[in-house]
């Protein structure tokens, strides 16, 4: 319908366009109504669309221009060649390390989290389950805590003389306190644990919601056919949840690639950059060291491209199974 409208609009030309209130022939009046409606629609979208353009795309465009400049502080000039900063990335060992760290978080944490969330959602979806509200509230509650807050709680718990070490020592699992945040492997482990703690419940709520919309008769049919609960879950529930799994996978990938707060507040990227994420490195390059904003902007574009590629791959894989 609106295509007709836009064709009509194009045919009519600019002079008429400027007099929307003028009287028109009957045929035109109907188009006029359509047009007016379509226009109202556009006006409805306008605030949201303009804000996104203004607050996201416009700065991103400026960041792109910035990514082609070099120089420290405010003495910025266009680089020679323009892609100099991008070339520079290829030789930056610390950057490669942060890419590795980020991908590690992504590959380890996201699948574990989504599987956990799925299993929990499936358990909670059982109408005969007792205390459903209690379980759901308990598991979702971590999401209400801010990233800064939970990072500080985790830091306190994983301190050398903190709760976790006291517990492990008390139970006799270790002989000496573990320097959780001071060793590469344990620091990464704590970050992953923190992410799992904070976000599993969040994803679970999305799965729970999707489960409400599942065709109940298909579950019944499977049960009558004698499929066990695992088989039902795997062959009946999961396929119907696929769109939601895809959405949460994309959202989590997105969030993890851009991860900043945990790296910043929990481990400060240490030891020796081995738990630092890309966003944190970008922040450090821009604000804490000799400010190199052009280079930082180039990193931000790499993050953007990685997110886009991963989302595209997930969409492709998600579609194929349909």
């Amino acid at each position: 319908m609106s295509q007709t409208t836009s064709t009509a609009r194009r045919r009519r030309g600019p002079t008429e366009e400027q007099e929307p209130g003028s009287a028109r022939a009957g045929r035109n009046r109907r188009f006029g109504l359509e047009k007016q409606r379509s226009l109202t629609g556009w006006i409805f979208l306008l605030p949201a669309a303009l804000l996104i353009l203004w607050m996201n795309f416009w700065p991103m465009l400026q960041a792109f221009i910035l990514s082609m400049k070099t120089g420290r502080g405010t003495r910025l000039e266009f680089a020679e060649p323009l892609w100099f900063n991008y070339e520079r990335l290829l030789n930056d060992e610390i950057f490669k390390l942060t890419v590795g760290n980020t991908l590690l978080y992504l590959l380890v944490q996201v699948p574990i989290m989504l599987v956990l969330a799925l299993v929990l959602a499936n358990l909670l979806n059982d109408p005969k389950l007792r205390f459903r509200g209690l379980w759901r509230t308990a598991i979702f509650l971590p999401c209400a805590v801010s990233l800064v807050s939970y990072s500080l709680v985790f830091r306190t718990m994983f301190a050398n003389d903190g709760f976790v070490n006291d517990l492990l020592l008390g139970l006799g699992f270790v002989d000496a306190p573990i320097n959780w945040l001071g060793e590469t492997d344990t620091a990464r482990f704590v970050i992953i644990l923190g992410l799992l703690w904070r976000w599993t419940g969040y994803n679970m709520v999305f799965y729970l919601a999707a489960l409400q919309n599942i065709d109940y008769s298909s579950l019944e049919a499977a049960r009558i056919d004698g499929a066990g609960s695992f088989k039902t879950f795997w062959y009946v529930t999961i396929p119907q949840l696929r769109p939601m799994i895809l959405l949460t996978a994309i959202m989590s990938t997105n969030g993890t690639i851009q991860l900043f707060d945990e790296s910043w507040n929990l481990t400060q990227g240490g030891p020796a950059y081995t738990s630092m994420t890309m966003s944190h490195y970008l922040f450090e390059l821009s604000f804490q060291k000799n400010p190199n904003f052009g280079y930082g902007a180039a990193i931000s574009y790499v993050i953007l491209i990685m997110v886009a590629i991963l989302a595209a791959i997930q969409l492709k894989v998600g579609d194929k199974r349909d």
Partner: protein, 437 residues
């Protein structure tokens, strides 16, 4: 149509209302970098500093002293942690928003060159001021001097000390004398003995922090950079020696690594370690543990034997007051010249309570320095530190000090994990060169 009008007016009014009611700042309060008239000694000075127990306290005391002569001047200190302060300076300079700067801000000495070189627009210089920079140690003034122009009044003194728990030492049969004028080998031997006898390690520090190593380097007049600012991480004998000592400290258990600065302070105040090697400002934190009063003593640093220029003296930290480009320059200069660069009374007040040791040399003649300190076994520790301060070798920091320090920290972590020293240092050097390119 009526509803449309309502909606549009709502869309305009709601944000506007919020803007008016809540955003304290865009117009009026934003210019707290006071443009008050400085000539007649009235106005407000806004200051950014980070430690309520130390530099903020000192600034408040300075304000009181200045107000005796200039009752119309108010000083408003905004607590701003150092990392945060650096971020704010960068953001403001990058966007050329100098109106948001305070009049005076405190800056880490090690970061001074970097900021002056990258963002000269942030600073007002001291060339027309009454501050007599010859009344400060030349090595300290150098941090905030660029191309012969002064940009900072040195505040606290980062002279390094070895602070020790005398009660623990006694238990193992040692005294502070046994740790005075010794070498690192002796220090480690004593430390192992004390650890065996009392179960207490001598030192603690943040894992992956290179503070201690940097102090060792400076004690031998060495640095990570040469006079031209080029990195000298590879083939740096002093650095290799410092890494070796550090590794031996950690391996022997004499030095215990913790996760964070908080935990480091915690090991001191909770009596988990028997001492520390740090800038003298650490005394402020140590004195918060009131139950340890009378059980602390201080002495100089162990020496890196066999190195040219090795001494028992070094420094860590220290900061200077900068005047911003948005300041009421005249008033700010007058304020600093008559307090931090001209008032013995100020230093007499802040020294005993916070351990803020002056860089301003005339303050050293004050009697307060010679007074015995009850917390430190009735010893006149501050005159002792002043003696140390005079002996500290100068070193090169340059604009890329933090890059160098972090690269060496990373190398240190790798080396402790078993990496080859030369390989790790070569990598650190190339990372610094990369960051500088």
């Amino acid at each position: 149509m009526n509803v449309w009008k309502k909606l549009t007016s709502l869309a305009v009014l709601v944000p506007l209302g919020i803007a008016l009611s809540a955003c304290g700042g865009s117009g009026d309060e934003g210019n707290d970098g006071g443009e008050g008239s400085g000539a007649d000694g009235a106005g407000t000075l806004t200051v950014w500093a980070w430690d309520p127990a130390f530099n903020i306290y000192a600034m408040d005391e300075a304000a009181k002293i200045y107000q005796q002569e200039n009752p119309d001047v108010t000083v408003e200190v905004v607590e701003t942690p150092w990392d945060d302060l650096q971020t704010k300076l960068t953001t403001l300079a990058q966007s050329q928003e100098f109106e948001e700067l305070p009049d005076i801000f405190l800056m880490q000495n090690n970061a001074f060159q970097k900021n002056v070189i990258n963002y000269p627009d942030l600073f007002s210089d001291y060339s027309d001021s009454e501050v007599d920079f010859s009344e400060f140690p030349a090595g300290v003034v150098a941090y905030s001097t660029f191309e012969d122009v002064n940009y900072g009044v040195p505040f606290d003194n980062g002279t390094a000390i070895t602070a020790l728990r005398t009660d623990v030492l006694e238990e193992a049969g040692y005294t502070v004398e046994d740790f005075t004028d010794i070498t690192w080998d002796e220090f480690i031997a004593n430390g192992e003995d004390i650890l065996a006898k009392t179960g207490q390690p001598l030192l603690s520090g943040q894992a992956g922090s290179s503070d201690l190593m940097m102090m060792m380097l400076q004690s031998a007049g060495a640095s990570l950079f040469d006079a031209e600012g080029n990195p000298t991480i590879v083939d740096n004998e002093a650095l290799k020696e410092a890494i070796d000592i550090y590794a031996r400290l950690v391996d022997s258990g004499v030095f215990v690594e913790v996760n964070s600065w908080d935990e480091y302070i915690g090991t001191l105040v909770n009596s988990n370690v028997a001492g520390t090697i740090q800038g003298v400002w650490i005394l402020g934190s140590i004195q918060t543990a009131e139950d340890q009063a009378g059980n602390w003593g201080i002495t100089n640093l162990p020496k890196m034997e066999g190195l040219d220029g090795a001494t028992h003296y070094s420094a860590n930290g220290g900061s200077s007051w900068a005047i911003s480009s948005n300041a009421d320059v005249e008033l700010a200069q007058d304020f600093l010249a008559s307090t931090f660069a001209g008032s013995s009374e100020l230093y007499d007040t802040i020294l005993p309570s916070s351990g803020a040791l002056a860089n301003w040399l005339p303050a050293g003649e004050s009697d307060v320095y010679g007074e015995p300190q009850e917390f430190f076994g009735d010893e006149a520790i501050f005159s002792k530190v002043l003696e140390f301060a005079a002996e500290v070798p100068s070193n090169n920091t340059g604009a890329y000090y933090y890059e160098g320090r972090d690269a060496v920290s990373a190398a240190l972590t790798q080396i402790l994990d078993g990496a080859d020293v030369d390989t790790a240092l070569a990598e650190a050097q190339s990372n610094v060169e990369f960051a500088m390119s």
